[in-house]
Symmetry: C2
Subunit: 201 residues, 2 copies
């Protein structure tokens, strides 16, 4: 495509590098930005610069953070002996939104996926083992996606951490709240039956 302006082309190319955004959408976004006022656009530019220069990862849980230690890890009201292992930041946000968990997190930064060449070394696995090894943590909750890779990673972690004598659990699989049995797939329904819970508990 021939762009009427090199600056416009520059911005379109940058947007098109983002996942799920092609050249046509990128052009639409760039044109939308041109139509907005200049201050808005400069603010957007500035916010990206801030992201590049100021974002960092928490030294303890590897979550995205503004400081060396993130708000959750440094909070006095969180239980430091309960550790929830998740794949990435979005999972932390999802669990935080439930307001049902009061421990701390460990963000792996991915899951073991041999097909994509991602082994345990590429993840924040060593620091997890060291962290649990210090003895402060009593319970590990594995909150990984219910996929083949998630299950593999959970299995790997449980093998590594069991010798350390901590209690390890995984979030339950089952019928979603509000879901109908009829529409559940067989594997989920099967798991819901095998991991049934005593009524009233």
């Amino acid at each position: 495509m021939n762009y009427p302006s090199q600056v416009l082309e520059l911005v379109v190319n940058e947007f098109a590098k983002l996942p799920g955004i092609g050249k046509k959408t990128a052009l639409r976004l760039a044109l939308h930005l041109i139509k907005r006022n200049q201050q808005d656009l400069l603010f957007f530019s500035e916010s990206l610069k801030k992201l590049a220069n100021e974002i960092r990862y928490c030294d303890l849980c590897h979550n995205v953070s503004d400081a060396e230690i993130c708000d959750i890890c440094s909070s006095f009201s969180r239980k430091k002996d309960q550790l929830c292992v998740v794949e990435d930041l979005r999972d932390v946000m999802a669990i935080e939104n439930t307001q049902q968990y009061f421990g701390v997190y460990h963000v792996l930064g991915g899951v073991i996926a041999p097909m994509d060449g991602i082994g345990p070394d590429a993840l924040n696995m060593d620091s997890l083992i060291k962290r649990v090894g210090k003895g402060e943590i009593k319970e590990i909750i594995l909150a990984l996606n219910a996929t083949m890779e998630g299950d593999t990673t959970a299995f790997y972690i449980s093998k590594k951490l069991q010798p350390l004598g901590v209690k390890i659990s995984t979030i339950s699989r089952g019928i979603a709240v509000g879901g109908e049995l009829e529409y559940a797939d067989e594997i989920t329904l099967g798991r819901a039956i095998t991991s049934r819970v005593n009524y009233g508990g």
Copy 2:
């Protein structure tokens, strides 16, 4: 949603202001940017700054441009007596891609849409009439979308420009090349019949 970092939240909010991008997609894009290297991110930020500070509109045709007069308007190889009126930049790019048009353009910046409160005053209509009034332009080609608003705008322009004695045409409506009659809607097929072209011409 509670974001673990204020800088991240800032960027997510900026992305979510773009058309067709919600909070979840915005977060996905922001996380993708964090994972890229810092230089890339700074370059993206810089390109938006450039867009804010350097982009301008051609004084003649109102197309997006890097200079006072755009490449097309300042080119010696373009016919200056043939003017194609389009809605926006994307239409210019689409027509340029056909490599079938060698005149110049006039970008309206929209179409007349009374339902959205857009009248002729909100468009680059005055400058079109002045430009044609100078007498250099011999032919006007209206290349507007085949919608109600596009047709209204074409009608308005033709009414305004007819007294100036220029030849006015509109791009033809008809069956798309490669299209089958069977699947064409009645209005398009009807137009294709009424505006039939002599065979061989």
